[in-house]
Structures are given as structure tokens and as C-alpha cells.
């Protein structure tokens, strides 16, 4: 006969679940509202989403307070794990979402935003990502990853352009493959250690001195491939530009930030102990992946004729740049990862949002794609403010001081120097120089060429509403004055990361 299970509510520590449950409740609420009374305007759903995101933020702040007071919190049969990494990444996830969701308030009536399901899916997706970062249980990571990914596939497909279906299908098949890899890798680790919890795996493997090295490597390869897909590391990146191109610009911007930070956290938890275990082979593989991702993506970005694809490749390159933090694996580099991703999030989201407000509902005949470079020719004459802001985002992405991303790059390269990776630091610096070229290309088009297609400045703000302008203004101000905020943010990040033991 089975023993009755007695669980006290306190030992479950349900508070650890609160940040994930809030968006899920929000999503359910949106679905219920739609069932009761259909045909309501999207503004309602946008506002509900924002409210729940704010509640979510409150819950994260609550857990953050407990963490700083008492250290890592475990909950729900020790499945949930709230530490500094979880808190920081959830802050980034929710913060970026707060910047993203108001972008739905366009005055053009785009297809995807007319569905309430879009917002429900969005909140489900957030819940999934939050699950991923707040656990070290491989199964729950997998569940969170798949919840988020399935929602994301559907959101991409809702964008009513031919390419978006292609993008969704491509993303889905690649994602399914990655899921298979991930579960296989997890299986190998379970077979080796009898556990699916990363800290247990680390303890057992460390205990027997990595006796079954061959199997460990098999597991690592599969997990790395799975995470590589999600992070769009070269050579698993091939879906990324097409998917970004097929999605709406704002969603592409979102995809370049939020899913990646979630996967970075998983990678950090997974590879940190492996790298410090002295497995030279893994270090070499990661080193190669990092360098190749940075460099190749940069080179491909050079030859793009569409700004959105250029930004897609540049996002891949940035992901490789940040992956270096995990390779270096010091407290400074892990802090640098968060700092980089925070400044990257509003700069990149700002850049993609600029594409979003210049999106036209119907493409004119002479324009082959939504955002060809030619479209931006001479923008300084027709829409000077928009051109200046776009130029600002480009300079920031290129890492020109004193704009936001420079400080991220500075701290990241510094962590490479400090960690003894001087050559890597040089490669990172030179890659920034290569990247300078394609960001500069857009600036050259905007500022130095004559307008060729449109004498009409209206196209650049075709889709602009006050909320969109506000978001972009916020991103621009953040990009310019980031240096004022770097010190408190850095201290906060470093304290949390250090306290989590990374």
C-alpha cells in the first residue's frame, strides 16, 4: 500500500512559483474575457498584459528581497530555485516585455494584434521562460522551453505576411529538433548520475571524477546543440535570419532578447560546473563556437541588403559575444553577461522598433522588402528626428562610447582580460570593428545619400502612435544616458551573481 503523502504548504514555498503563475493567470483571464464577450479592442488586452507584467515585477521584487536576505530559495519539492540568476533574468524578461507589449498599440490594424489569443500566448510564453530560468531541473527546463517555444511559433505565424508562415514552420521544425537533442542530452546525464537536477549532476560527476568522460561528452554535445539552436550560435543559426525576417519587426526584436537570456541562464547553470571541472575539450569547443559565431555572423551581416536581416545577423553576433561570458566563467564575466544583456535589450529593441514604426501595411511596387537599405536613403532630410534616433541606436550597437552598449562591451572585454583570455578579448574587439562597418552602412545611407525612393518622410513614421514614440524615446534616452545608471546596476548585478555562487 502506498504511503499517504503529507506535504505542508509552507514546505512547498509557493512564493517561488508566484512570478511564473502571474502571467499564466493573466493569460487565462484574457481567454476568459474573450469567451464571455468577444470582439473587444486590443487596447484592453494590451493594458491587461501590462498590469499583469507589473504584478509579475512586484512578485520578482518580493523574491529578490527574500534572496538578498536569506540566500537561495528552493521550493515545490526543491524543483523551483530562486537565486540571483533567476531574479536578474526574470527582471530582464519582464522589463523587455514591458517595452514590447505597448508596441502592439499601432494605429494600423495589423492582423496579429486583433486576436486576443496573441496576448494570451504572449503571457504563456513569459511563464514558460520564467520557469526555465528559475529551476535547475532539466525536466522543468524542458517544459518551460517548450511552453514558451510553442507559444512563440504561433505568434510568429499570426503575422500575416507570406514569409511568416515559412518562418513559423522553420522555427517549429528546428525547435522540435532542438527539443529532441535537449531531451536526449538530459537522458544521458540522467543515465550517468541518476538525477535530473543540475546541482546533483554536478555533485555526482564531480564525486566520481568524471569517470565516464565519453558519455559526459555525448551529453554535453547534445545539450550544447540544443541550446545552440535556441541561442542561434553558428552553425545552428540558419533559421534565425529567416525567422526574424518573417516575424513582425517588434517581435523579432523581442526574440533577439528574451528567449536568449532564458537560454543563457540554462547554459550558465549547465556549463559552469563543466568548464570548471577542467574538461579541456569542452572549453575548446565553446571557444570555437564563440569565435565562429561572432565572426561569421558579422561577415554575413556585411553583405545583407535588408536592414532587418542585417539586424538579425548582428543579433546572432551579439549572442556569440555574450556566450563568451559563459566560456570565461568568472563572477565578473557572468555579471558582464547581465549588464550586456540589459543594455542590449533596450538598444536592440529600440532599433527593431524603429523598423516597426516604419513598417507599411502595403508595400509599394518599387520596394522589394520591408526594410531595404534604399528605403532609408536620405532619411535625415525627410525625417530628421527618426534618422537621428536610428543613427543613435546604430552607434550604440557598434559599441561607440558613451552610448549604452559600449559599457556592456567594455565590461565584457574586461572580464575576458581579467579571466586570462587576452586573445579572445582581442578577437572580441576586432569583431566590434567589423560590426562597425554594417552599422555605419545604415548611417551612411540615412545621413549621406540623397533620398531615392521616397521624398515623403511619412513612411518612416507610418506606423507611429504616441505609445510607440514613447517607447522609442525611452530606449533612446536610456541609450544616451546609460552611463549614469551603469554603476548602481553593476553593483546590483554583481552582488546578486556573487551571492548565487557564480
Amino acid at each position: 500500500m502506498l504511503e499517504p503523502v503529507n506535504v505542508s504548504l509552507e514546505s512547498l514555498n509557493l512564493m517561488t512559483l508566484a512570478p511564473m503563475l502571474i502571467p499564466i493567470i493573466g493569460a487565462l483571464l484574457i481567454l476568459v474575457i474573450d469567451i464571455i464577450k468577444g470582439g473587444l479592442d486590443k487596447t484592453l488586452y494590451v493594458m491587461i498584459s501590462i498590469l499583469f507584467l507589473l504584478l509579475d515585477l512586484g512578485a520578482i521584487a518580493e523574491t529578490a528581497g527574500q534572496f538578498t536576505a536569506g540566500g537561495t530559495i528552493m521550493g515545490v519539492f526543491d524543483v523551483m530555485l530562486i537565486d540571483g540568476l533567476a531574479i536578474l533574468s526574470q527582471l530582464i524578461i519582464v522589463g523587455a516585455s514591458l517595452l514590447f507589449i505597448p508596441l502592439a498599440l499601432t494605429h494600423k490594424r495589423f492582423h496579429e494584434f486583433s486576436y486576443p489569443e496573441f496576448f494570451a500566448l504572449f503571457l504563456f510564453m513569459l511563464g514558460g521562460f520564467q520557469f526555465m530560468v528559475a529551476t535547475d531541473n532539466l525536466i522543468l527546463i524542458f517544459v518551460g522551453l517548450e511552453t514558451a517555444s510553442l507559444a512563440l511559433y504561433t505568434m510568429i505565424a499570426m503575422h500575416n505576411r507570406d514569409k511568416s508562415f515559412e518562418a513559423a514552420v522553420k522555427y517549429f521544425t528546428m525547435g522540435a529538433l532542438a527539443a529532441g537533442f535537449f531531451s536526449f542530452g538530459a537522458m544521458v546525464f540522467y543515465a550517468l548520475t541518476g538525477s535530473v537536477e543540475i546541482n546533483q549532476i554536478a555533485a555526482v560527476l564531480g564525486g566520481n571524477g568524471f569517470a565516464d568522460m565519453g558519455f559526459v561528452l555525448v551529453g554535453v554535445v547534445f545539450v550544447l546543440a540544443a541550446l545552440g539552436f535556441k541561442l542561434s550560435l553558428v552553425p545552428f543559426h540558419t533559421w534565425a535570419p529567416d525567422v526574424y525576417e518573417g516575424s513582425s519587426a517588434s517581435l523579432a526584436g523581442f526574440m533577439s532578447i528574451v528567449p536568449k537570456i532564458a537560454v543563457f541562464i540554462v547554459a550558465m547553470r549547465m556549463f559552469e560546473f563543466l568548464i570548471h571541472s577542467g574538461v579541456v575539450w569542452l572549453e575548446i569547443v565553446l571557444y570555437i563556437v564563440v569565435v565562429v559565431t561572432m565572426t561569421m555572423a558579422n561577415i554575413w551581416a556585411l553583405v545583407q541588403t535588408d536592414v532587418k536581416r542585417m539586424l538579425a545577423y548582428s543579433s546572432i553576433s551579439h549572442a556569440g559575444f555574450v556566450m563568451a561570458a559563459i566560456l570565461i566563467g568568472t563572477t565578473q564575466s557572468n555579471s558582464a553577461l547581465f549588464l550586456y544583456w540589459i543594455v542590449f535589450s533596450f538598444t536592440n529593441l529600440g532599433a527593431f522598433s524603429m523598423l516597426w514604426i516604419s513598417r507599411q501595411k502595403h508595400l509599394p511596387d518599387h520596394q522589394s522588402s520591408d526594410h531595404s537599405y534604399n528605403k532609408f536613403s536620405g532619411m535625415i532630410q525627410t525625417a530628421p528626428v527618426a534618422a537621428t534616433i536610428m543613427g543613435l541606436f546604430m552607434l550604440s550597437l557598434a559599441g561607440l562610447p558613451p552610448f549604452a552598449l559600449f559599457w556592456g562591451k567594455l565590461y565584457m572585454i574586461s572580464s575576458a582580460v581579467t579571466g586570462g583570455y587576452t586573445v579572445l578579448a582581442l578577437i572580441m574587439a576586432l569583431n566590434s570593428a567589423i560590426a562597425g562597418y554594417y552599422y555605419l552602412k545604415l548611417i551612411v545611407y540615412m545621413f549621406m545619400r540623397e533620398p531615392v525612393i521616397n521624398k515623403d518622410g511619412h513612411v518612416f513614421v507610418a506606423n507611429a502612435t504616441t505609445p510607440l514614440r514613447t517607447i522609442i524615446g525611452f530606449a533612446a534616452v536610456g541609450t544616451i544616458f546609460a552611463f549614469l545608471a551603469i554603476n548602481p546596476v553593476l553593483e546590483f548585478i554583481t552582488a546578486l551573481v556573487f551571492k548565487s555562487g557564480y
Binding site: 567594455l410 565590461y411 574586461s414 574587439a429 570593428a433 551612411v444 552611463f483
Partner: protein
């Protein structure tokens, strides 16, 4: 007010530039001149309140920026940077006053004011990251000036200019980060403050690597041979004002940074690389002089001659003694004045004929006598005629290097003489003889506005050529402390013997010599 004068000097033009957007188009020129004039007056005020007897930093301002990572907003000025700041303010004023481009003049003036912010920022920053911020930021307005107002190849030229310097400075950034890390290892705290770094004594191997990393950033900016290839394009395509600012100020960032960073921080590496760099500098002097001789475009002649003279500055810098470094700093000012003036003069002729080809001209002396006179004076100064400003700098630079190597100095001296040929040849082609081209017959001579810009330059050229002491005093003072620091910090015997020790040697004899006067 003088407590914050450096911050005011940096940010006043930028803030004024932002207000400039609200000024009507036909009044913007007056606005720009007023702002630049106030800035120039402020920089003169800095000079007057500068204490020439103090060799260290003055007017220091400190403000925490990212203290947990050792980045602070630190400003200060010494004899080495003082006159370059004044030069920057002066040339912005002259540049705006003489502005003849009519297209989009409002954007041009606002861009120039932003450029001024970055230039002043570079020369007063005492924190490596703040320095780097202004150093990189200066690329943006210059990119825009070349790319929006330049010649037919302007986009290529501007992008090349940007990418070359951007790449070099990123390598330098890695060096800076390593330096800060080294400081962290030595002391346990992070610091990017230059004065903190001065106190570090680095092992020789580290010095060599760091020297090379910084060298990339600086050498591309100077530009030293073989990194100079962006410069002819940039000059060739830039509008007159762009060339003037580029030659007069922006190039000086590189040579200034050598003295501010490379020499006092890596004295042993500086000695180690002294002869290779001197050889590069001599190649720079000879090679670019020969290239200049082959040019048909007068602006390119001036551009290459500008590179050639930068070689002398480098040579003086790497003499690693007081005479050489003082000479090279003086020559930076002199080169700024003279080559800036020459570019302005080329601009004058370009405005009238819209060509810079020397074959189009001839016998201009009879048509435009005043122009020919000013051009002649400036050309003589460029050649290094005694009693002109360039002579003082070149003489001191060579005198300095003579103590390190007689033969190389002799070569450089000969090269300068040979280099004079192209200037005289160019002058001959353009000004002497009969008027060969009918279009030149009725060219108007320099007008009032151009005279307002040019005459002060002529006066400075001659005045400081005859009486350089007001500048040499403060420069010398600061340079002595740099050289002494280098001597004290150096660890190899080679460096100890190459870098003079001023305390128990030269300095005492100098003061006694002065007393004997």
C-alpha cells in the same frame, strides 16, 4: 568658476550646439562665431589662470562615474595639453568664421560645435575611459563632415576614416583594460585614472605588449607610416573646414596620446621601440615628401606635407628627452597653425575656381598678390624657415633626437631639406611666371572675411617664431616632470641610460646656467 572651467570648456560648445537647432538659418553663422569666440575666450582665461611654475596637473575635477569599476570623470590640464586646447578653440573659431560652404550651413556649424566638445574632452581627460569616450566620439562629427559635405568619393573616404581609426582604438581599448587589470592586481582596486597608472611599474614584457596595443590606436590616428593611407582620402574628399580641423587638431590626438600614455607608462618599451619608430618616422618624412612632390592636386600636396611633418613630431617625441618632447609639443602647435592655414588657403583658391589642380594655375602672384604673400609666408613656415613657428619645433625635436642618434637625425634633417623642394615646386607652379590660364586673369584677391581668418595665423606664425618663450616655458615644465617620471620608473639599464635623469644632472646645470644669465 575656475573650479569647473574644464567641464565648461568641454560641454559649453555641445550645449550651445543643441540650442543652435533653434536658431534661424541666416543667423546661425553669427551664432556659431559667437559661441566659438566665447569658447576661445574661456580657453585664454584658462591660460591666464594657469600657473606656469607648476609642472603637474591643474584645475583637476573629479566626479565618480562607475566607481565600482574604477571609472571616474577626472579632468585636468598641464603644460602639455594647455596649448592644444587653446589651438582647438582657436581653429574652431577660425573655421566657423571662414566657413564658405553654403549647403546646410546650420548642420555644419552644429556639427563643428559637437566636434569641439570631443576635441577638448580628449585633451583634458585624465581617466582612460573618459579619454576613450571622447576619442571615439570625435569620429562621429568628422564622419558626418566628410560624408555630407565632401567631394565625389566622400562616402568611401569617410567610412575608411571611421573604420581605420575605430579598429585601431578598439585594440587600444583592450590595452587599457589590461592596464586597469594590472593595476587591480597590483593594488586590489580598479582604476582607470591616468595619474594612478603613472605610479605603476610594469615588468618589461607587459610593457612591450601594452605599448604595441596602445600604439595601434595612436599610430593610426597620427597617422604613422604604414597606417597613413586613410589620410589622403580623408583630406582629399573633406571640405576645407574638415581638412583644417583634421590637420590642425585631430591628428594631434595621436601624438598627444603618445606623450600622455605611452611614454610615462611604458618607459622601457619606449626605449625598446625608439629606433624602430624613429625609422618609421624617417620613412614617413621622406616617403610622404616624395609622394607630395608627385601630386598634381595642391590640397594633396598639403596633405602629404602634413603627414611628413607629423613624422618630425614623432621623432621628437621618441627622443625621450626634454628637448625632443618639448620640441614635438611645440611643433604640434606649429603644425596645427601652419597646416591649418595652408588648408584654408587651398580652400580660398578652391572657392574661386572649384579646382585644386596645380596645372590650372600659374602666375597667380600677379593676380592675387595678398594671397600669394600669405601663402608664401605659410609655405616658408612649413618648410621650417628660421624665425617662423615651425623652425623652433623642428629644431628642438631634432636637437633632442641628436642625443640619441647622430646618423638618424642627420637623415631626418636632410629629409626635411629635401622635403622643402615639393613646397617650393608647388609654389612655383602656382604663383610664378605668366598667367597661363585665362580663367585666372580676373580672380579676386582674398576678401575681408578670409583676411580675418588668415592674418591672425600669420601673426602667430611669425610672433611665436621669433619669441616662443610664452609657450615653451609651461610646456618645458611639464615635460621635465614627465621625463623625470620616465627615468624613475624605467627598469632596464638601457632605458636608464637613454632617458636623462634631471634631478642630479641636467636640471641643475640648467638652473645654474639660467642664473648665470
Amino acid at each position: 568658476m575656475l573650479d569647473n572651467i574644464l567641464s565648461i570648456l568641454i560641454f559649453f560648445p555641445a550645449v550651445a550646439g543643441i540650442f543652435g537647432f533653434a536658431v534661424q538659418k541666416d543667423s546661425i553663422r553669427a551664432y556659431g562665431v559667437s559661441v566659438a569666440f566665447i569658447e576661445f575666450a574661456l580657453s585664454l582665461m584658462l591660460w591666464f589662470s594657469f600657473d606656469s611654475n607648476v609642472s603637474g596637473m591643474q584645475f583637476i575635477e573629479t566626479l565618480p562615474l562607475i566607481p565600482s569599476f574604477g571609472i571616474n570623470y577626472i579632468l585636468g590640464v598641464d603644460g602639455i595639453s594647455l596649448f592644444i586646447i587653446i589651438l582647438a578653440a582657436f581653429f574652431t573659431l577660425i573655421g566657423i568664421a571662414s566657413l564658405t560652404d553654403t549647403k546646410d550651413v546650420k548642420n555644419m556649424i552644429i556639427t563643428l560645435l559637437f566636434l569641439q566638445m570631443t576635441m577638448v574632452g580628449v585633451f583634458v581627460a585624465l581617466d582612460a575611459i573618459v579619454f576613450y569616450v571622447f576619442w571615439e566620439l570625435s569620429l562621429v562629427p568628422m564622419l558626418y563632415i566628410i560624408g555630407a559635405w565632401g567631394g565625389p568619393l566622400r562616402i568611401y573616404a569617410s567610412v575608411k576614416f571611421f573604420l581605420y581609426t575605430f579598429t585601431g582604438s578598439l585594440v587600444m581599448l583592450v590595452g587599457m583594460l589590461f592596464m586597469a587589470y594590472f593595476y587591480y592586481q597590483a593594488t586590489g582596486t580598479w582604476s582607470f585614472a591616468i595619474l594612478d597608472w603613472y605610479r605603476l611599474i610594469l615588468p618589461e614584457t607587459f610593457q612591450l605588449w601594452l605599448f604595441v596595443a596602445f600604439f595601434f590606436g595612436f599610430a593610426i590616428k597620427v597617422p604613422m607610416f604604414p597606417f597613413h593611407t586613410w589620410l589622403p582620402y580623408a583630406h582629399g574628399q573633406a571640405p576645407t573646414i574638415g581638412s583644417v580641423i583634421l590637420a590642425a587638431i585631430l591628428l594631434k590626438m595621436g601624438t598627444y596620446a603618445f606623450i600622455r600614455f605611452s611614454l610615462p607608462m611604458f618607459p622601457d618599451a619606449a626605449v625598446f621601440f625608439m629606433f624602430p619608430i624613429a625609422v618609421l618616422a624617417i620613412i614617413m618624412i621622406v616617403y610622404t615628401a616624395m609622394v607630395a612632390y608627385a601630386q598634381e592636386d595642391v590640397k594633396q600636396v598639403v596633405a602629404y606635407s602634413s603627414v611628413s611633418h607629423m613624422g618630425v613630431i614623432i621623432l621628437g617625441t621618441f627622443a625621450l628627452n626634454v628637448e625632443g618632447i618639448t620640441g614635438s609639443i611645440f611643433l604640434m602647435i606649429a603644425h596645427g597653425v601652419v597646416s591649418g592655414a595652408l588648408f584654408l588657403l587651398v580652400g580660398v583658391i578652391y572657392d574661386r575656381r572649384h579646382t585644386k589642380m596645380m596645372s590650372e594655375f600659374g602666375g597667380l602672384a600677379s593676380v592675387m598678390p595678398r594671397f600669394a604673400t600669405i601663402f608664401g609666408i605659410m609655405m616658408m613656415a612649413s618648410v621650417g624657415l628660421p624665425l617662423t613657428i615651425n623652425f623652433v619645433g623642428e629644431f628642438l625635436s631634432l636637437l633632442g633626437f641628436y642625443q640619441q642618434s647622430h646618423i638618424l637625425t642627420l637623415l631626418a634633417g636632410l629629409a626635411i631639406i629635401v622635403g622643402a623642394i615639393y613646397m617650393l615646386a608647388a609654389y612655383k607652379k602656382m604663383f610664378f611666371g605668366e598667367v597661363t590660364n585665362e580663367k585666372n586673369r580676373n580672380l579676386p584677391d582674398v576678401n575681408k572675411r578670409e583676411l580675418i581668418a588668415l592674418v591672425p595665423l600669420v601673426i602667430i606664425t611669425v610672433w611665436l617664431g621669433i619669441y616662443p618663450k610664452p609657450l615653451l616655458g609651461p610646456i618645458n615644465n611639464s615635460v621635465e616632470s614627465v621625463v623625470q617620471l620616465m627615468h624613475d620608473k624605467s627598469i632596464t639599464d638601457e632605458a636608464k641610460s637613454r632617458i636623462p635623469n634631471l634631478i642630479d644632472g641636467v636640471k641643475i646645470t640648467r638652473t645654474s646656467a639660467q642664473e648665470a644669465h
